[in-house]
């Protein structure tokens, strides 16, 4: 049983979230082998960037907080990785970020030539001084980035949104109108801050960081619900998804595919297979298919 997504064949509904284990072909392949239908590379930027100093990722128990800070070799310095990925036998999303509309466009155009199956633009990262989120909280700037990128790429475009947008449905609609082929929601929540009271220091070196994992699931579900109401393009729903039941919940909110990031921490790298199996068991117990439940929470009873 395979599924179709924007013209590509996937083995299941699971997507690896960007920034999690997306650093090399070999590890992406391992994620795919562990039950993930579609994997996303770590976001690629316009220039070499080390990201922030450590601590960058802290587990809070009900989720985690991170300010990795968009490290990237820069799109021009990834030849080995592209060569490795050229021989892949799994579907791939390349995630892209920039500090200006032009940068998004330049990086995306270059990356498109490397033939990933999809390009995702990250207009939603809270962990950088000037990249990402700043675009995704505003209708106009979101639209500008999407149109500029859409113009120069040859693969379907996914736009990754931030829950910090005052009206995420409205932003999604703007992206759809500008040519986006799918929406990915959500990026991390907040940002938040954790202060160590003994040293009176924020624990993250960047001080603030995005929240992910189980505690953000209600926000992810609400965002997907709002986006589903606003657009007709498919949605990759993610944010705190950890179990098969979580996956069912976000599909009922309107997701077509289900992304997983932090849950790799909580259930291991085979979380993708576990969630798929749990979803399928839940569905078959009730004689239902994914199509039956997609967006089901929108029906008025």
């Amino acid at each position: 049983m395979t599924i179709q997504f924007l013209g590509k064949t996937l083995k299941n509904h699971m997507v690896l979230a960007s920034g999690v284990l997306g650093n090399s072909k070999e590890i992406l392949e391992r994620v795919h082998e562990n039950g993930c239908g579609l994997v996303t590379m770590k976001s690629i930027g316009p220039a070499p960037r080390d990201g922030h100093k450590n601590p960058t990722v802290i587990d809070l128990g009900q989720g985690m907080i991170n300010a990795v800070g968009l490290p990237s070799p820069g799109y021009l310095n990834m030849e080995n990785e592209w060569q490795d990925l050229d021989e892949r036998d799994f579907p791939l999303i390349a995630s892209v970020y920039g500090g200006s509309v032009k940068e998004y466009q330049v990086v995306a155009e270059f990356v498109s030539a490397k033939k990933p199956d999809f390009i995702e633009i990250n207009i939603s990262c809270p962990n950088s001084e000037k990249h990402g989120m700043i675009f995704g909280i505003n209708r106009q700037s979101s639209q500008d980035v999407v149109s500029a990128v859409k113009e120069v790429i040859n693969v379907p475009l996914i736009v990754k949104l931030t829950p910090q947008a005052p009206d995420i449905g409205d932003i999604a609609k703007a992206c759809e109108d500008a040519g986006a082929d799918a929406i990915c929601a959500i990026n991390t929540v907040g940002p938040g801050m954790v202060i160590d009271i003994e040293s009176a220091m924020p624990v993250l070196a960047f001080k603030k960081g995005g929240l992910s994992g189980p505690m953000i699931k209600p926000i992810a579900v609400r965002c997907v619900f709002d986006i589903y109401k606003a657009v007709n393009i498919p949605i990759i729903g993610l944010g705190g998804i950890t179990t098969g039941e979580d996956a069912i919940e976000i599909i009922m909110a309107g997701a077509s595919l289900v992304g997983i990031g932090s849950a790799v921490r909580y259930r291991g790298i085979d979380v993708f297979q576990k969630v798929t199996d749990e979803m399928n068991a839940w569905l078959s117990n009730r004689n239902l298919s994914i199509e039956d439940i997609k967006g089901a929470a929108h029906k008025e009873k």
Partner: protein, 271 residues
């Protein structure tokens, strides 16, 4: 399911004791009941500076320690910490060594690589073959720590035999000792040669690798080495994994995620 979620925020600990180990190392002791298997590591946060992984090099019921070799900005800061200074600790992380006490094993340490191996040696039989090398005398870590007899060697001959640990290991094998396992930690190139020697002689081997780390728990991907995550699948890897690990002794990711030759990786300095 949800009870597998563990809070891994820092515990804030004060340095209880600091031991200067020769000119190159310092060992910091903390009073805390840390769960532990030899080979596991902790993430060490110096508030306002940075956070880096360090092997637990000493462990008792209510105390543990890390040994730091002064290299770059962080480790220089770490060796200059004093009793009472506040440090954040997350962990323990990673899998430890797969310990086989009832076999004839060898332990091969290079420089600071003795740190994870010392608690292992303390568990193993007193007749275990321990080969311990370093650049020079000052880099021989814990010269007096345990009573298991060691064969020492240094690059410059300033302590023990002049030469490499692989020379001593080869000699031990040639002398007819049948090893069931070789444990090794040290510079990656040294471990690579130890591993190859073991392969030639069909001896299973366990090495402890290092890569740049962020999360320490298998999420961020900073520490990938081949298809393995050094923090979560390692840092100790066995022969089966090493055989498939193309990146072993060849490739590592910089902080930016750029993959570089190992020599470039090890000459890189944190800013």
């Amino acid at each position: 399911m949800m009870n597998t979620i563990t809070d891994q925020k820092h515990i804030m600990l004060r340095v209880d004791e600091k031991r200067i180990e020769g000119t190159a190392f310092a060992t910091l002791f903390f009073n805390y009941a840390m769960p532990f298997k030899p080979g596991q590591f902790v993430m060490v946060w110096i508030p306002g500076v940075d956070e880096k992984p360090y092997t637990i090099c000493f462990h008792s019921k209510d105390r543990f320690a890390i040994t730091i070799e002064a290299k770059g900005i962080f480790s220089q800061k770490a060796v200059s910490l004093n009793k009472g200074d506040l440090v954040g600790i997350r962990g323990p992380f990673g899998n430890g060594f797969d310990i086989q006490t009832d076999h004839t094993v060898a332990v091969v340490a290079g420089g600071c690589g003795m740190a994870p191996l010392a608690p292992l040696v303390e568990i193993l039989d007193k007749n275990t073959t321990v080969i311990h090398g370093a650049k020079s005398k000052e880099y021989i870590l814990y010269p007096d720590r345990f009573d298991t007899r060691r064969q020492f060697c240094t690059d410059d001959g300033s302590f023990g035999q002049k030469g490499l640990v692989t020379d001593l290991l080869e000699k031990a094998i040639a002398s007819g000792r049948q090893f069931d396992m070789v444990y090794t930690c040290g510079p990656e190139i040294m471990m690579y040669h130890v591993f190859n020697l073991c392969e030639t002689h069909h001896i299973p081997c366990q090495v402890s690798l290092e890569r740049y780390m962020r999360c320490g728990f298998g999420v961020c991907g900073a520490c990938v080495c081949g298809k393995q995550l050094v923090c979560k699948d390692g840092p100790v890897f066995g022969s089966g994994e090493l055989r498939e690990m193309n990146d072993f002794n060849t490739k590592a990711l910089l902080k930016s995620g750029k993959d570089v030759e190992l020599s470039q990786y090890f000459s890189w300095r944190c800013k």
